[in-house]
Amino acid sequence: MTDTPVLELRNVTKTYKIKQGLFGTPKPLTAVNDVTLKLNKGDVLGLVGESGCGKSTLAKVLLGLEAPTSGEVLVDGKALGGQDRLALARRIQPIFQDPYSSLNPRKRIQDIIALPLRVHGVGNEASREKAVREILDVVGLPARVLTNYPSQMSGGQRQRVAIARALVMKPEIVICDEPTSALDVSVQSQILNLLGDLRREFGLTYLFISHNLAVVEHLATEVAVMYLGRIVEKTTVANLFDAPRHPYSQALLKSVLTPDPSMDVPETHLGMAYPNPIDPPSGCYFHPRCPAATKLCETRAPRAVQDAKGLVECHLHDEDVAMTTA
């Protein structure tokens, strides 16, 4: 695609200072490490990885809740720093994981959904109420829930309210952080269908963070695999799920338990040791857990290789490295 991506990350790094012990000197924890990503309009980028790999920090940076330590976030080709937060919030909205804690229990549904409109001073009382009713219809909730409190609603209904609140501002980009993992399977499928319908109807762009790979495979168009703050592989859904290239992506896919009783529980050979992000391993971050690791991986960090099959950060797929070691 030739047009400007709606959302672009250029070498974004986010570092926290973690103090160890009472008198310890703070150590840097690099939660997001030099991430470059592009989202085109209408894309659904699935972001997968284990807990602690930096998925949620990346989402916070995108939402403007955290400023990147270095690098740039661009919306429509314009650097994020140049726009004010309010303008950004109109265009990027979040849907969080837990619909039980992300809705204010003391507010009625109509006030919860109307809040973004009020904050941004959109329209008057009457037009706001109309907008709330319209969006409620879009997410498939009956108008009678308007005066309910969140506690009177089921988990699936609450997640629909959360989606309505995100969409009432007509954003272009929606950041979904584990939107269905707190829900039962029968409800999960309804919410996934709804997200798919809304994307087609409003031309939305999603960043879809999930550890459920089957869900990502189903909904996403592109997938980025994250490990210890870095994107180790990014490609189309078909490429990743049919032929994963990075050994970590392969291990992740192998761990997925499809409901097939003829198959056993897989042996991933990954070991338990998710590395400590304060003290990451030398060379390739994944080498202590990698079945294909060589001497080179211990000392030299792989570079990102971008080719027709996507981006991958692994010596195995770097032709130059293969030549020098051969």
Binding site: A214, V265, E267
Partner: protein
């Protein structure tokens, strides 16, 4: 492996008194389990899976009424057993692995203390023996430098490690039955696969029976020998795992399987199946099929008593007014109202 079941449950009913009437949380369920066998109980939240496991362990509060025709563990009637007799069983011969490794370990005691507690309490080991077994088991569940972990506190361990500690703790007294309530739900996929692998291997090694409670059909398919599908306090379908996944007979079981995207089978980006409606209230009189409010094939006959159909030979049975469970009909809901 013997053929005699170690656990037999028949007609288990759990009633919870509430302000607005009695909540019939579990209604007349039954299953049995042989040594070395794994039963997977599948169901959504509120279906009564966890209550069933707590009832087996004798951990339900006194206000909750538990009744059963039979609830027997290796010759001991769990319903009439004294508190003392239950204490002797619990932790020693029946052990439980809870869902949340974050909240089910005591933050104020070391891993070692918590591991050794059950064994020394049951009086069949000295402190030194208990310590030795704890270290052995920690190594067995794949925890490196087990000796130094013994002096650590739960907050110093990651979620995966804590769940491993929970498993080691359940195994301390060499139980005959393990009840694992969503043992991997709070964990990453990679860790989930490893923990399940570990559970299955240990179960084989020690010949334990296991009840695995989960909402994840993938976990059940891979781990369980037989499956019980629970809906609104009832077992709607039970049978050998292969039979259930090959020929799901109850409309609810089929609905559940349609709801999840199946890698390699479901076409990417297509509409997923749904089960419209919500779980009915179980307060007050409950009759007929509880699933009728969400079933595409519901007829007035569903309000009456529901017969159980059993496929010959394989012990695959389900409750439905149709002897085929409407397997030949189209399950697509006629009107999808988004009530959830």
């Amino acid at each position: 492996m013997t053929d005699k079941p170690i656990l037999t449950v028949e007609n288990l009913t759990i009633d919870i008194p509430t302000g607005t009437g009695t909540l019939h949380a579990v209604r007349g369920i039954g299953f049995d389990l042989k040594p070395g066998e794994t039963l997977g109980i599948v169901g959504e939240s509120g279906s009564g899976k966890s209550l069933t496991s707590l009832a087996l362990m004798g951990l339900l509060g006194r206000s909750i009424k538990t009744r059963a025709t039979t609830m027997e563990f290796d010759g001991v009637d769990l319903l009439s057993a004294s508190a003392r007799a239950m204490r002797k069983l619990r932790g020693a011969r029946m052990a439980m692995i809870f869902q949340e490794p974050m909240t089910s370990l005591n933050p104020a005691y070391t891993i070692g203390d918590q591991l050794m507690e059950a064994m020394t309490l049951h009086g069949n080991a000295s402190k030194a023996d208990a310590r030795k077994r704890a270290i052995d088991l920690l190594q067995k569940v794949g925890i490196t430098s087990a000796e130094s972990r013994m002096t650590q506190y739960p907050h110093q361990l990651s979620g995966g490690l804590r769940q491993r500690v929970m498993i080691a703790m359940a195994l301390m007294c060499g139980p005959d039955l393990i009840i694992a309530d969503e043992p991997t739900t709070a964990l990453d996929v990679t860790i989930q696969a490893q923990i399940l692998r570990l559970l299955v291997d240990l179960q084989k090694e020690f010949g334990m029976a296991m009840i695995l409670i989960t909402h994840d059909l993938g976990v059940v398919a891979r781990v369980a020998d037989k499956v019980a599908v629970m809906y609104a306090g009832e077992l709607v379908e039970t049978g050998p795992t292969q039979a259930i996944f090959d020929a799901p007979s109850h409309p609810y079981t089929r609905g559940l399987l349609r709801c999840i995207p199946l890698p390699g089978k479901t076409e990417r980006g297509t509409e997923l199946g749904t089960i419209p409606g919500i779980v009915p209230s179980l307060v007050g009189d409950v009759s007929g099929c509880a699933f009728r409010t969400r079933c595409a094939h519901a007829t007035p006959a569903c309000r009456d008593a529901i017969p159980v159909h059993t496929a010959p030979g394989v012990r695959h049975s389900f409750r439905c007014i149709s002897p085929t469970g409407f397997a030949e009909a189209d399950d697509t809901p006629q009107s999808v109202e988004a009530s959830v």
